[in-house]
Amino acid sequence: MSRIIVIGNGMVGYKFCEKFANHPNSDKYSLTVFGEEPRPAYDRVHLSEFFQNEDAKALELAPKNWYSENNIELITNEKVKDINKSAKIITTANNKEYSYDVLVLATGSSPFVPQIKGVDKKGVFVYRTIEDLEQMMKYAKEINAQKNNGKAAILGGGLLGLEAGKAVMDMGLEAHVVEFASKLMPRQLDIRSSNVLQLKLESIGINIHLNKATNQILGEEKITGLEFGEDDKLDVDMLIVSAGIRPRDGLARNCDLEVGIRGGVVVNNKMQTSDSSIYAIGEVALYNQMIYGLVAPGYDMANVAVNQILGNTEVLMPDDIDMSTKLKLIGVDVASFGEPYMPADKGHSVLFEDKSKFLYKRINVSLDGKKLLGGILVGDADDYNMLHQIYLNGMAIPENPEDLILGARSGEKSSFGSACDLPDSAVICSCENVTKGTICNNLENGTFSSFGDITKNTKATTGCGGCKPLVNDLYKETLKKLGKEVKEVVCEHFQYSRQELYDIVKIKGITSYEQLLNEYGKGDGCEVCKPVTSSIFASIYAETANKHNVNQDSNDKFLANIQRNGTYSVIPRIPGGEITPDKLIVIGQVAKKYNLYTKITGGQRIDLLGAELKDLPSIWKILIDAGFESGHAYGKALRTVKSCVGSLWCRYGMDDSTTLAIKLEERYRGLRAPHKLKGGVSACIRECAEARGKDFGIIAVDGGWNLYVCGNGGANPKHAILFAEQIDSETVFKYLDRFLMYYIKTAGPLVRTAAWLDKLEGGIEHLKEVVINDSLGIAQDLENEMEKLVETYECEWKQAIEDPKLEKRFNHFVNSNESDDNLVFIPMREQQVPKEW
């Protein structure tokens, strides 16, 4: 049996194992893998997610037992220190020797740390491994404990540096990105797009310093700042160096394999090094005189190496390697593909820039106007996947190439045509090398029948995830082409969409989950369909969450938001954000009595956190006696209608926004919907209530109110769209009744108004037709249904504490009155918070 040894169990080393395990010849070989890190290979590309969840397991590419189950010997925590080429033996740091027939170097790269005076000070970090992140977080915590305006700099404004900038913010420090060049992401962006990106980053709190050469790192034992020129300094408490990578080619150098001038083990298109029994793949390999700092080419290399070694010698590395990239900083879209910028004699460029919206788009077109050569997108990279495909496949482009970035202006939304127009050979998922043909042909011949089948069998979307929208489009369009209805079914228990279930419940008069499941579903239900049907019952029968409480989402079940330690938060309703001193005092008293952490929320009200389940009823009793009611902060229901102070006090106020906000909040309080609902009312265009970031927003203008709908803050911010101008407040209510009810009846589960509108056929114009012009003839029904919901509104907390049967569910134990003994709190700024996970 031939012996293969792989040195390095990183992303590419793992991909080698996976391709090996799936190869038909693998049983003729034995495979041993050495990894220097303490754990099996993990997803370095999504390393930054570790800041959010500190869950190393979630990043794991495969658990340890996967290797043994596939007859692969994995030895972690073991560095290889020497290769003896002629004897074909490697030696590990523990002086153990292993012989090989074929050796594969997958040692990756290490962060490049420039030799600046003082880089060895405490507080200077690199960004590559889970351990790096753990140390950074620990250090950041120490800084945060000492002061509340800690700062951290990132050396390097490339792709990774900007990602680190976001991470620094997430750690609660002020972020400063320091770049030597005159632009950000120098390899991917031109000067103008860099300027736009800089504005955008600064708007979210990442400070940018360009043209800065760092001379030395200041501080005694630990870093206190960076010095650029004589009088040019930046005070920081921490530094992350992200100045590029260096291939880890030390082993190769020591055994005289050929390496490049600036490092990297030279390989041919079989991934063979200058010794034909030794291969190199991933970031250590120098192919076409390049180190590719991306995972997709590395995965390709792993595939080539496995095939070469296991006998499929016709599989070779292509000459051209696509370096297109999309930044995955949450909240900032940046992408570049092909040749992002180029001299004018190679082609002409179409540019679009709107600095006020942080938008920049550029495409480069061949001189004959027929081919897309590359481009840059900042601020809105929704079209990246399609543009990238057009570029990769050399597809024909519209006569007016500007349509590609501005959208065809004849009213049609897209100028790309359909995803199905791509050639079969188009690589849709570059991480896993999955072509459009593989996806569509298997759907057409029935091998795949669901989205899950595609991802399970091809692994598409499981790498960087960037291709997900495109795979989804292909899936839907192919099914449509086959004449199959693409059904957005709720889950395995119901072959219906939410809208269909809504209609069934309404028309058949079904009143319980069990009945619905028996008559229209199968199996025993689950955590997806139960809350969906509870929400439908609530919308149709004006039921509170006390009914069906075992089928309510866990927050609705206990009428409070569960916190990370299993305790709950209490948010009483404070309509429009207006509250009397007496009520404020009661909140303070309750918080004191139950030792609750108190915080002003982002929704103009007050959150009392850390309440034990068993205390919720008595807490609410005090609040209700003082005139409060549930704020439904736990429900997929109306949350708040945010107000500005408006003409009651403000010198610019054009109308009484506070009163309108309170009225709106009181009308729609507790309204259960497919997702949560938020509103806002501002009394002038300065927009202090951020009404356009809400599901419905109202702004006072000369001559009435402007109504906006379908805005969203949160993960994908969208400004609400102007729906009606200069209307009176009665019309505001009329339109909102109809709009909200139409949304409640037709949206999918957990789809907010903005996402719903995106998918609504006919878009905002259709919505105006239905709501304003009553094109479907349902306006009166919608109003009546809303009226009924408003009339039958009841505070569900009041219900819960008045009915002893309902109260029982708040005991932690059935057989004891004790508290959860697993709770541990730690002090924090004179209050208390749960211990860390």
Binding site: K57, E60, P63, E492, H493, E514, G523, D524, G525, C526, E527, C529, K530, P531, N549, V550, N551, D553, S554, N555, K557, F558, I562, R564, N565, G566, L613, R809, H812, F813, V814, N815, S816, E818, D820, D821, N822, W837
Partner: protein, 123 residues
């Protein structure tokens, strides 16, 4: 570590059938928590299947005492509970997670006698 307090118990290894309460103390098609010595045990009255299940209340994901507050249901006929914190799901039959192969929970036998809910322990 707290996870080590929870080990599955086979029906034939039970030394103590602990009386956790009356059947009416428990939610239909839902979960409740009981205390046994230093353990917190989630008990599920799966009325739909006419079966009772018990497992640790501790979610192995973040080690919080929450599983009894999760929603029950089935996946391909396997009865399961979904943790209320991050919706990881676990088979109520054998405790294996259905959504994360690295996780599992301990399960305990339950029997009903004279409308009393008895949970089996080996200590």
């Amino acid at each position: 570590m707290i996870l080590e307090n929870y080990k599955s118990v086979d029906k034939d290894k039970v030394v103590n059938w602990f009386e956790a309460g009356k059947t009416s103390d428990f939610d239909e098609n839902g979960g409740n928590c009981i205390k046994y010595k230093n353990l917190q045990i989630a008990v599920f009255n799966f009325t739909r299947k006419n079966k009772w299940y018990a497992c640790q209340n501790l979610c192995p994901h973040k080690l919080e005492m929450v599983l009894s507050r999760g929603m029950i249901g089935s996946e391909n006929e396997i009865p399961k509970v979904a943790c209320p914190l991050h919706k990881k799901t676990f088979s109520l039959e054998n405790g294996k997670s259905l959504s994360d192969e690295n996780l599992s929970i301990a399960t305990f036998p339950v029997k009903i006698e004279n409308e009393k809910v008895l949970v089996g322990f080996d200590f």
